[in-house]
Amino acid sequence: MADAVNKKETITVDVLLYGPIAAYGGGTHIAEVKMTMPQGVLFRDVLSQLGIPAEAKGYVFINAVLCDAPGLNASEQLQIQADDHIGIFSGTHMWPYQYRDGVRMSDELQAVLREKGAMHHSYESVAQDE
């Protein structure tokens, strides 16, 4: 009975780490980690459990939806659901503007972008603006 309660209270998520931050998942350039976490967990908790500093993350996708970009902070408060697929890229990963213009984005990232203008490559300068 106790086991059944515990199962209900936890979720499993699939996390892929790309680039140097794969080291936080035991890889060199790519790492895949199956994580079991409490229900109601936030994305920042995923980072925390993996030991990834917030500033090390670049683009973040949850279920193929772009949720964050280098230098921005639009994903930390996102609630993670059971069976979510999360892709986290290192800050050095490239994604030219015209190759991302029009992709599906989270409401939170849209809000940040509407405030700051179109996405571009100013990882460092955007971060400094904050």
Partner: protein, 584 residues
């Protein structure tokens, strides 16, 4: 003696040096090849006929001392694949040597009366026409070895068997610093245009060349310094940055996570095996096998070094380079997640002389048509033998996606103007779709490169979530790209000059310093539009209309998983992109 136009007439087997006309003197690279094609090639001519020409030219700054990452050579002509104007540029050894010989551009015209094949040797003393009998039927790896032994430390431009057969997917190879093929002016079939001129290869020996005159040394140095600093500072282009560490295939996992990686002939936007064929996987394999390298430079003086040399299963260096587009086209789009297959297939493309994007899309089309199953790597590799041998099937496949779709009765044809789409799904990444649809080049991911809206002159805040403004943005991208394609700089300088304003100014200053042409950053888009207008008008004269600026029908109707999106940008919005051509 100043820069010259070298005109090579293959009908008479004569070469002449001409003064550079004033109108051509102000252009380099793409701006120059497109200007010459517009001035000298009848838009209605048959691409494989006597009235088409092959034009190639170094960029504005190519060949200048220490201009960073500036070794591009532009190739131009009327495309057998699209029927419109084509510019395709490559790295490798040729651009700097052409420039150091004082050549503004080379025009190859006519067809040999004796129907024989030749290779040309260009030196400071002129051009010799050599019988190419011993090169015929050979792939580019052998051609580079044979000519490299006879003419060491030269640039070698050539065509494989695909160019000999005048196939519409024949590219033009340029050797790399290790004298291997793999730097391709791949798109649009210009290898066939070279083939119909009876030219198997062109050797460029710059020994004793006078070098590139620099109009304003101080301005050139100032610009070069700023641009170099920007490249070396930026996270993507600096040493051990994203491009240097993982190559352009760093994009595989990103586009896949976004649901925008075309999979199995553009039937899905997510490929379950993407990680296995990504740049990260390449880096891991190279480290594990102890051979090959990431961070390889495709030409002397490149400081980005995004190329790679990939080893085979036994740890022997096999092929350079596996680009993002290559591993996507031959891998994900065919449902194949075997990186070693991708490497071997890339070798075949380099050797036969095929554009990897069109080749991968063509195999995917054959899979869709039932010739083989998606994911069948063993079957796919055999198709290259068919092309190399020129079997009836191979000749169909070598004509590219449109011909193969007709042969196998497929209606899902991901092309614009006859050229197949690269590795960005326009239903998922709608901005790129506007460029695919409207660029004079046919579906081309490099036609509208990465310049942020604020730098490209669009101004204001462009809503990335709306269809509004996509046309204006695409035009700004296309114009800026046309400018960069004219400089001789690698298009990847776009990343640092985007983020670092001094780098953008440095690029323009270096061009102004070398050429003596007064220009500032404000001139970039207007100059680019001037090039686009020439190309657009050529295509119109060739018979293109607004109806050619459309994505394929199935993308309007077929939902793309995982987001289940269709193409939603209106035809009217697409028509606005080039509405200015006749209004200005």
């Amino acid at each position: 003696m100043g820069k010259k136009i070298l005109r090579i007439n293959m009908t008479d087997l004569k070469a002449t040096y001409e003064d550079v006309p004033e109108e051509w003197a102000r252009w380099g690279g793409r701006g120059l090849t497109s200007s010459i094609v517009c001035d000298e090639v009848d838009p209605t001519c048959h691409p494989l006929g006597p009235n088409n020409k092959l034009v190639f030219a170094p960029g504005w700054v190519t060949g200048t001392p220490a201009a960073p990452s500036s070794g591009r050579t532009s190739f131009g002509g009327k495309s057998p694949l699209t029927g419109g104007i084509k510019e395709s540029n490559a790295g490798g050894m040729s651009g700097q040597k052409l420039a150091k010989l004082g050549l503004h551009a080379v025009i190859v015209e006519g067809m040999p009366k004796d129907k024989k094949w030749y290779y040309l040797v260009i030196t400071k003393d002129g051009v010799t026409f050599e019988a190419a009998d011993k090169l015929m039927g050979k792939g580019m790896y052998d051609v580079d070895v044979i000519l490299g032994e006879k003419y060491p430390k030269t640039a070698i431009i050539g065509i494989g068997q695909a160019g000999e057969m005048k196939l519409s997917n024949a590219g033009i190879s340029v050797n790399d610093p290790e004298n291997k093929p793999g730097r391709y002016a791949g798109r649009g079939g210009l290898g066939a245009v070279m083939g119909v001129r009876g030219v198997k290869a062109i050797v460029i020996d710059d020994t004793g060349g006078e070098g590139v005159a620099i109009a304003n040394e101080e301005l050139m140095k100032k610009g070069r310094k700023a641009l170099t600093a920007a490249i070396r500072e930026h996270a993507l282009t600096k040493k051990d940055g994203g491009l240097n560490a993982y190559g352009t295939a760093i994009l595989v996992n990103i586009l896949n996570e976004a649901g925008g990686l075309p999979t199995r002939n553009f039937s899905a936007g997510h490929f379950e095996g993407a990680a296995k064929i990504s740049g990260e996987a390449m880096a891991e394999a190279i480290e594990k096998r102890g051979a090959g390298t990431m961070g390889h430079g495709c030409h002397p003086g490149c400081i980005i070094q995004c190329s790679n040399i990939f080893p085979d299963e036994d740890g022997n260096e096999l092929v350079s380079v596996i680009e993002y587009e290559t591993t996507w086209a031959l891998g994900a789009n065919c449902g194949i997640d075997d990186l070693d297959y991708v490497a071997h297939a890339t070798y075949e493309c380099n050797d036969i002389g095929l554009d990897t994007i069109e080749a991968g899309n063509t195999i995917a089309m054959a899979m869709e048509g039932g010739l083989l199953e998606f994911g069948d790597a063993k079957g796919a590799i055999k198709l290259f033998d068919e092309i190399r041998k020129g079997t009836p099937l191979g000749r169909i496949l070598g004509q590219g996606v449109v011909a193969t779709a007709k042969a196998f009765g497929v209606h899902r044809v991901p092309t614009v103007k006859g050229q197949s789409m690269p590795a960005y799904e326009p239903r998922a990444v709608k901005g790129i779709g506007v460029t695919y649809a409207t660029t004079p080049m046919g579906a081309d991911h490099t036609a509208g490169y990465t310049i942020a809206p604020e730098i490209a002159g669009v101004g204001g805040k462009v809503d990335p979530l709306s269809n509004e403004g996509k046309g204006e943005l695409s035009l700004a991208f296309q114009a800026t790209t046309a400018y960069i394609d004219s400089t001789g700089y690698c298009l990847f300088i776009a990343f640092p000059i985007l983020d670092i304003a001094e780098g953008f100014a440095g690029m323009v200053e270096s061009v102004a310093g070398v050429t003596g042409i007064e220009m500032t950053g404000d001139d970039v888009v207007p100059l680019g539009k001037e090039i686009l207008k020439k190309e657009r008008l050529f295509n119109e004269a060739a018979g293109f209309t607004a109806l050619d600026d459309r994505p394929p029908e199935f993308m309007r109707e077929e939902k793309l998983p995982p987001h289940n999106e269709v193409w939603t940008i209106t035809d009217e919005a697409l028509d606005e992109v080039y509405g200015w051509v006749h209004a200005d």
